[in-house]
Amino acid sequence: MEPTVSAFQLLLAGDPALLAVVRLSLIVSMSAVGVATLIGVPVGASLALTHFPGRTVVVVVFNALMGLPPVVAGLAVFLLLSRSGPLGSLGLLFTPPAMVCAQVVLVTPIIAALTRQTIEDLWEEYCDELTAMNVGMVRRVGTLIWDGRFSLITIVLAGFGRAAAEVGAIIIVGGNIEGFTRTMTTAIALETSKGDLPLAIGLGVILIAIVVLVNALAWTVGRAAQRYAG
């Protein structure tokens, strides 16, 4: 209990180093989830409503990428952003944007694959009505995303959970630089390797508390909105 209390005391006291770590963690994870949502939801919804040769292969690939090992994603982004890589000139390696990129690679397949399944199920229900109303493809996608929004919130939360808990990818592309690219998960990994278990445990508790808080907020808002929309 003592390390947890100490960690929360540091947090409540506004310890700058700890706050910086928490803030960067949230910024990186939320940015990554935001970008992944913007990509994954339309891609997943379009995949649900279109039929083309090789669609099954694409679906299987997206499903498989949900289990993409973070270190592999990190390595891929590292190679892209390294000085000799194709995007090396951007100078992003070992910066927070690089960490966002790595997490986008991890989270986008999760959001796209789960969105595809959700929208496909909803389409089965709506198909006759929307076809009879002569609703065009773009509006169909929009309608299904809007009407599936409560399920999609859960999917985005799953993506946030994956991003917030992730360490392998961001430690490769971020470098765990104190005060610059150190997040809660990379700090936990570092402190554990240094043997400072109390601080690692304390950070872990804070991380879990944040994830629970974000989920609780989203769930409450979602339920209220769902009650209104039916």
Binding site: Y126, D128, T131, A132, M133, N134, T143, G230
Partner: protein, 241 residues
Amino acid sequence: MRAPGTELPICLSDVTVETHGVTILDRITLALGSGPPTVLIGPNGSGKTTLLRIAMGLILPSAGTVTWGGRESVAPVRRAIVFQHPVMLRRTAAENLRYALKVSGRLPRKMYDSRIAELLSLVGLSEFGDRPARTMSGGEKRRLALARALAGDPAVLFLDEPSASLDPAAAKVVEDVIRTVAARNIKVVMSTHDLGSARRLAGDIIFMHRGRVVETGAASTFFNEPHSDEAKIFIRGDLLV
């Protein structure tokens, strides 16, 4: 009064529908023109719903042709259908109607609110505009679906078993709306296996059995002087197998 547009007549020529080797409709040839409601009757499984879907353009025939106003490929802009189990969008009743108005694009946005109020009033749901549509009862949903179908200003309205599973009061409201719609020169084509409903609403009857049109004609003639044995059995209320 409106012109029925270019949707009519709807002509089916030798239309067959087969699914997984089963014949649902068997070489149907008929024409649906303007006039009083046409009612498809027949026992369950006779192909009424499939015929409505074919005429609406929701499914393609396995053989034969369907034309709307003489053309084979016409988007269902002036056709609307109310399914037996309508699916409501996850919005309020008024927002369901707003959605249909937006999709149809036939009305300026500034007129949406007044049109929504008019449609809700037509189906007796004026007080239900803010109610989440999916929490409404079966009868209310059916009436809202009717209003939604009318939002697109259709020339032809297909109704699949519009009063099935409704209590008498709700069925009466639906039948009143159908009469009002028909009086506005909208062609109503509906299916039912409720002979009472058919007697009250039909101008013309199409009697179906086992995927075939057995008998067609004016409702009064059909009910008073049916020609086929199947029609006689069905009108008598005996089981038609």
